[in-house]
Symmetry: D2
Subunit: 115 residues, 4 copies
């Protein structure tokens, strides 16, 4: 289901429950952060530090899929309320990142993330 | 650009820079949380508490679009590395939410979020 | 119980369980973020937007106290492992904030938080 | 400077700038999360994954101290506004954790964090 269709479904979902009133920028931004932290919590200690093997565990995999879904749903809802084209914004950002981090200069280096 | 294409582009992006090594579940989950907090920071005090008018401000709108894009890019990257179909997971979650919060029972109420 | 004593207690707590191995900067920073999001979740929708009346609810008050405690414990643990004097750092930051935001210039304004 | 004195200083700081109006539970909880994510960002990729050596770098150490301070200041401010004794809440939680995770049963194990 493409993002535009998800946005439409979420619009109906909110309308059917009269939840539009709760969907301010502040509240939806909070929701995205809260769901992102629930994903992060799955990898709080040893798990997922070095590789993706933990995804072979069915319970971890299901929890991960659910948290990713929660984040996406709030993200799509936020963009829809804000009138922002999420896919276009992502593509635009990807292009800027490509220009900012030329492959030959940043090969194997995470120094880009340094202040 | 659909999610599947974004995932493909991000895969190439990481490969070209030898950044695969940094993309563990833990690190990508951290990145999603960090970007979510940057979105949240835009609405830290008065802004965006009651309505979406702040989106008429070009600078706020551009910053919002950029943070939404950052979150989506890391989200798509995480799902791709994990082998999780993000759109299917979102649709699945949406259906479970619809069953969990019947419209007539949760009309205008945010009590679902109570412990 | 002063912060120095809490740090000492947490040191013993980790040693007695052989949990030192999990207490890397990355993992403890994750823990602080995860607990901060659990606090935030209490105020995800309508609650606590305008005033502090919600603190009269015993259940909310107890949950809030517990989340604040969790954040403080990980914060104290992080500072202790890093060899940073938390109280001195806080006082130092408070003094810099006072210089950065002169009262007469920032009276009643949250524009300091604008980009 | 003990927590009670920090709380007193923060009270004056807010009053002198008429910032009380911004200090709702929701906004202060957002601030704690935002600052926690700024700490986390310092350890987003390779840094601080395995040990505390990164703290020997003066710039990292100073940034870390500043982020820890920011979190503590908002935490103390939140507890003060809520009328919660932060140190007592922390001690109480520490005692509950000791009961919940008996040393002999959780020796060297992070499975407590599993669902």
């Amino acid at each position: 289901m493409p993002i535009a269709d998800l946005a439409q479904r979420l619009r109906e979902f909110a309308r059917e429950r009269d939840w539009e009133q709760f969907h301010s920028p502040k509240n939806l931004a909070i929701s995205i952060s809260v769901e992102a932290a629930e994903l992060l919590e799955l990898f709080q200690w040893s798990r997922g530090q070095d590789d993706w093997e933990c995804m072979n565990d069915d319970a971890i995999r299901a929890s991960t899929a659910e948290e990713l879904a929660d984040i996406l749903l709030y993200l799509v809802r936020f963009a829809d309320k804000a009138g922002i084209d999420l896919e276009r914004a992502a593509l635009h950002k990807l292009e800027r990142n490509a220009a900012k981090y030329p492959a030959e200069k940043f090969w194997g280096s995470d120094r880009k993330y340094e202040a």
